[in-house]
C-alpha cells in the first residue's frame, strides 16, 4: 500500500490547495508520560472552500488547528508537513510564522477569554492587528475597529470599543475574536468553535459574516465545531476525526445522507432531534470512552465502542479510502462501512 492510500491523500488534485497538510502527527510530553494527540492527519483546503471538522471532544481538532499556525507549546513534538501555498510551515522560524499568522492565516480560538489580552481595551487589540498587518494609521484603525465590531453584531460599537474583555458577555468576547480574525481578510481562516457561546439568532449572523468573507475575498475557512447544525449550514466538505485520526471525509450532503464510518453514523444519530426528547426519552450516547491513542496503534481506534467490530478491526488499522470507487470524494477508514441506503442513485453506477 502506498503512503498516499494509507493516509487518504486525494489521488487527483482538481485545484491547487491553499493549505496542504500531510501526515501531521503531534505528541505531548507531560508529567504522566507521552500523550499522542494527532496521528498522521492529511488534509487539503482548496481556495474559497469551507471545510467543517467534527469529532468527539479530545480527538485532536484544536491541536491539528494550532499546529497549522505553529501555535503549540514547546511540550509538543510535531512531525509531517503543513504547506501554505507551497511554503512549508512545520519547523519554520517563529519570526516567519508570526508574519503568516494574522495576515495569511487568522485564528478564532475556542476560548476567547484566554486569548484576549485582559489589560487592553478590545478596540486597541483589534486596531493593533490592523496597524501591524495593514499599516493603517492609529485613527483609521480605530474607526475600522468600530466598523468590525458592528459587523459582528455588537450593539453600541462606538462605546464598546473602549471596553476591556471582562466587561463583555461571553458571546460578545467571542465576537471580538471573530472581528479580529476577519480584520485583515486572511487567505485561510481557522475558526475553532466560533459560535459556541452564541445564541441561534446571533449565530446565524456570524455564519453569514464567514460566508461573506469567502464570497468577497475567496478566503478558505476551516470550521471546527461540534454543532452539526452549523456544519449543515455552512460547510462544503466535512472531515470527521476520531482519536487523533481522520476517519471520514466527504462533501457535506453525502456525509449527512450516507455516513460510512461507524463513528460518524453514531455521531449523527446522537444529534438531538427537536421535539423528540421532551423530557422523557434519554439522549442517544455512544457508549464508552475515547481510547488512549498510543495504547492501540494497529487497530481501528473505534473498535472498543463499535457495534460492528470484529477481529480484523482489532488487528489492523483500516486505510482511509473511497468506499465506492465511483465516489472518490467520499473516503472513510472502516473495514465494515455502514450499508448505503438503497434509494441512493449512485448505487447503480458503483
Amino acid at each position: 500500500m502506498t503512503t498516499a492510500e494509507r493516509t487518504g491523500a486525494p489521488s487527483t488534485t482538481i485545484e491547487t490547495p491553499v493549505l496542504q497538510v500531510r501526515d501531521l502527527s503531534v505528541a505531548f510530553t507531560t508529567e504522566s508520560g507521552t500523550v499522542s494527540a494527532v496521528d498522521r492527519v492529511s488534509l487539503d483546503l482548496a481556495p474559497g472552500e469551507i471545510v467543517g471538522m467534527v469529532g468527539e471532544s479530545g480527538c485532536g481538532k484544536s491541536v491539528t488547528a494550532m499546529s497549522i499556525g505553529g501555535l503549540l507549546p514547546d511540550s509538543a513534538r510535531v512531525t509531517g508537513s503543513v504547506r501554505l501555498q507551497g511554503t512549508e510551515l512545520v519547523g519554520t522560524r517563529e519570526s516567519v510564522l508570526r508574519r503568516v499568522r494574522g495576515k495569511d492565516i487568522a485564528y478564532i480560538f475556542q476560548e476567547p477569554m484566554t486569548s484576549l489580552n485582559p489589560v487592553l481595551t478590545i478596540g486597541r487589540q483589534i486596531a493593533e492587528v490592523l496597524q501591524v498587518h495593514e499599516r493603517m494609521s492609529r485613527r483609521a484603525a480605530r474607526a475600522r475597529a468600530v466598523e468590525l465590531l458592528s459587523l459582528v453584531g455588537i450593539p453600541s460599537a462606538a462605546t464598546r470599543v473602549d471596553n476591556y474583555p471582562h466587561q463583555l458577555s461571553g458571546g460578545m468576547r467571542q465576537r471580538v475574536m471573530i472581528a479580529m480574525a476577519v480584520a485583515c481578510g486572511p487567505k485561510v481562516l481557522v475558526a475553532d468553535e466560533p459560535t459556541t457561546a452564541l445564541d441561534v439568532t446571533v449565530q446565524a449572523g456570524i455564519l453569514q459574516v464567514l460566508r461573506d468573507l469567502r464570497d468577497r475575498l475567496g478566503t478558505t475557512i476551516l470550521v471546527i465545531t461540534h454543532d452539526l447544525g452549523v456544519i449543515a449550514d455552512i460547510a462544503d466538505r466535512v472531515v470527521v476525526m476520531y482519536a487523533g485520526r481522520v476517519v471520514e471525509r466527504a462533501p457535506v450532503t453525502d456525509l449527512f445522507a450516507f455516513p460510512y464510518h461507524r463513528y460518524t453514523a453514531g455521531l449523527l444519530s446522537a444529534s438531538p432531534t427537536p421535539g423528540v426528547h421532551a423530557g422523557t426519552q434519554r439522549l442517544q450516547e455512544i457508549p464508552g470512552l475515547v481510547p488512549v491513542l498510543s495504547a492501540q496503534p494497529d487497530a481501528c481506534t473505534f473498535a472498543d465502542r463499535c457495534p460492528a467490530a470484529d477481529e480484523r478491526c482489532r488487528e489492523a488499522a483500516p486505510p482511509l479510502e473511497a468506499v465506492r470507487p465511483a465516489l472518490t470524494e467520499h473516503v472513510a477508514a472502516c473495514w465494515h462501512p455502514c450499508p448505503t441506503p438503497r434509494t441512493r442513485p449512485e448505487e447503480t453506477i458503483a
Binding site: 505531548f28 507531560t30 508529567e31 504522566s32 467534527v54 468527539e56 471532544s57 479530545g58 481538532k61 484544536s62 507549546p73 475556542q110 476560548e111 477569554m113 484566554t114 450593539p155 462605546t159 463583555l168 458577555s169 461571553g170 458571546g171 460578545m172 475553532d192 468553535e193 459556541t196 457561546a197 452564541l198 445564541d199 441561534v200 439568532t201 446571533v202 449565530q203 446565524a204 449572523g205 461540534h226 454543532d227 452539526l228 447544525g229 452549523v230 456544519i231 449543515a232 449550514d233 457535506v252 450532503t253 449527512f256 455521531l267 449523527l268 446522537a270 444529534s271 438531538p272 427537536p274 421535539g275 426528547h277 421532551a278 423530557g279 434519554r282 439522549l283 450516547e285 470512552l289 488512549v292
Partner: protein, 333 residues
C-alpha cells in the same frame, strides 16, 4: 408554596455596571429539585444573574433567597456557609480553573472547602468517580488544565460542581464545548443526578435542544429583563412573546438541505443596547410586529397559560401574536 420550598428566589434583581443595565428587574423562583432554563440573546444578562446568585458581584438592588434565606447582603464569608450547597459551572471553563493546580485537586476542592475530613484514598476515589461520570479517564487527574482539550476542561468544571452534591446548581452554558455524543452523556448524567440527588438547577444556555431535554421551566431574557416564562411544554408548543418565537425558529437543524432552505424569522438588525435601552418595549427595535404603542408604553407582564409574557399583543385569554405572519400583522389565538 412556602419560600423554603424554593431553592432559589430572585425578586426584582437589578445589576448595573456603571451605565450598563445588565440586569434590570428580574423575578424568578426555582422550586427545589426542578430545572429552570434561562435562555436569551448574547449579552442579555444571563451570566450576570448567575453571578449575582453566587455573589461574585453584589446586586445593585433586589433580593436573592437561597432555600428561603435572604443572602443578598451576606458577606462573602457568611455566604460560604450557603455556598457549600450551591455550585456553579462557569461559562468560561479555562478562566475558572486555576492553571497551577492539578485537575485532581481542582475537582476535590469543594470537598476540602466543606471542611469534612476525608482520607486521601477516599478523596482520590471520589475524584475518579466524578471524572468518570463526565466521561474522563482517571489519569486526567494528574494533568494540568492547559493539557486538556476545551471540552475536557469544561467537563472538569462540571465534575467539580457536582462532587459536593449541591442543593442548587448554577450551570452557565455547561455543555457548549461538547460534541453531541459527550453532550448527550453529560445531559443524561445531569438528568439522572437531578432525579437522584434532587438538586435544583438554573440552566443557562442557548442550546434549545438541551433545554427541551432537561428543563422543567423556561425563562426567556431580553436586554436585562424577562420577556416570557412558562413550562417547557408551553414555551415549545405555544410561545407567546415574539422574541421567543423568533428564537425557536432560528435553531439550526442538522440536515444540509433542510437547513439551507429553512424559513427563519428575520429579526430587524437595529440592535438595541444595555447602555441605553429603547423606550416602551425593549424588543421593539427588532420586533417584526411592533406598532406605535410599543414605543411609548412598557408592556405589562400578563399571565399567559401557565406562565407570563410581556408583550402588548399577548392577552390572558391566550391570544398571542405570530411573528411568521408579520407582514400581514395578523394575530392568531
Amino acid at each position: 408554596m412556602t419560600s423554603q420550598e424554593y431553592a432559589l428566589e430572585l425578586s426584582d434583581l437589578v445589576m448595573h455596571f456603571g451605565a450598563v443595565r445588565a440586569v434590570d428587574g428580574v423575578s424568578l423562583a426555582i422550586p427545589r429539585g426542578r430545572v429552570t432554563a434561562l435562555v436569551g440573546e448574547s449579552g442579555s444578562g444571563k451570566s450576570t444573574v448567575g453571578r449575582c446568585v453566587v455573589r461574585l458581584v453584589e446586586p445593585t438592588a433586589g433580593t436573592v433567597r437561597i432555600a428561603g434565606a435572604d443572602v443578598t447582603h451576606l458577606s462573602r464569608r457568611q455566604l460560604r456557609r450557603h455556598r457549600s450547597d450551591v455550585s456553579i459551572v462557569f461559562q468560561d471553563p479555562a478562566g475558572s480553573l486555576d492553571p497551577r493546580m492539578l485537575v485532581g485537586d481542582i475537582v476535590a476542592e469543594p470537598l476540602r472547602l466543606s471542611g469534612r475530613r476525608i482520607s486521601r484514598r477516599d478523596r482520590d476515589a471520589r475524584v475518579a468517580t466524578e471524572l468518570g461520570r463526565v466521561g474522563l479517564r482517571a489519569e486526567v487527574a494528574r494533568r494540568y488544565p492547559h493539557e486538556l482539550s476545551g471540552g475536557q476542561r469544561q467537563r472538569v468544571s462540571i465534575a467539580r460542581a457536582l462532587i459536593s452534591e449541591p442543593m442548587l446548581l448554577i450551570a452557565d452554558e455547561p455543555t457548549s464545548a461538547l460534541d453531541v455524543s459527550v453532550q448527550a452523556s453529560v445531559l443524561n448524567l445531569l438528568a439522572d443526578l437531578q432525579r437522584d440527588i434532587g438538586f435544583a438547577c438554573l440552566f443557562i444556555t442557548h442550546d434549545l435542544s438541551a433545554v427541551e431535554y432537561l428543563a422543567d421551566d423556561i425563562a426567556v431574557m431580553y436586554l436585562g429583563q424577562l420577556v416570557e416564562k412558562g413550562s417547557r411544554e408551553q414555551i415549545f408548543a405555544r410561545p407567546g412573546h415574539p422574541y421567543t418565537q423568533a428564537l425557536l425558529s432560528a435553531a439550526p437543524v442538522a440536515d444540509p438541505e433542510r437547513q439551507r432552505q429553512r424559513q427563519q424569522v428575520l429579526l430587524g438588525d437595529d440592535l438595541p443596547t444595555a447602555l441605553d435601552p429603547p423606550s416602551g418595549c425593549r424588543f421593539r427595535t427588532r420586533c417584526p410586529l411592533a406598532f406605535d404603542r410599543c414605543a411609548t408604553e412598557v408592556p405589562a407582564q400578563v399571565e399567559y397559560g401557565d406562565g407570563m409574557a410581556a408583550c402588548h399583543l399577548v392577552q390572558p385569554d391566550g391570544t398571542r401574536p405570530d411573528v411568521r405572519a408579520a407582514d400581514t400583522n395578523e394575530v392568531v389565538s
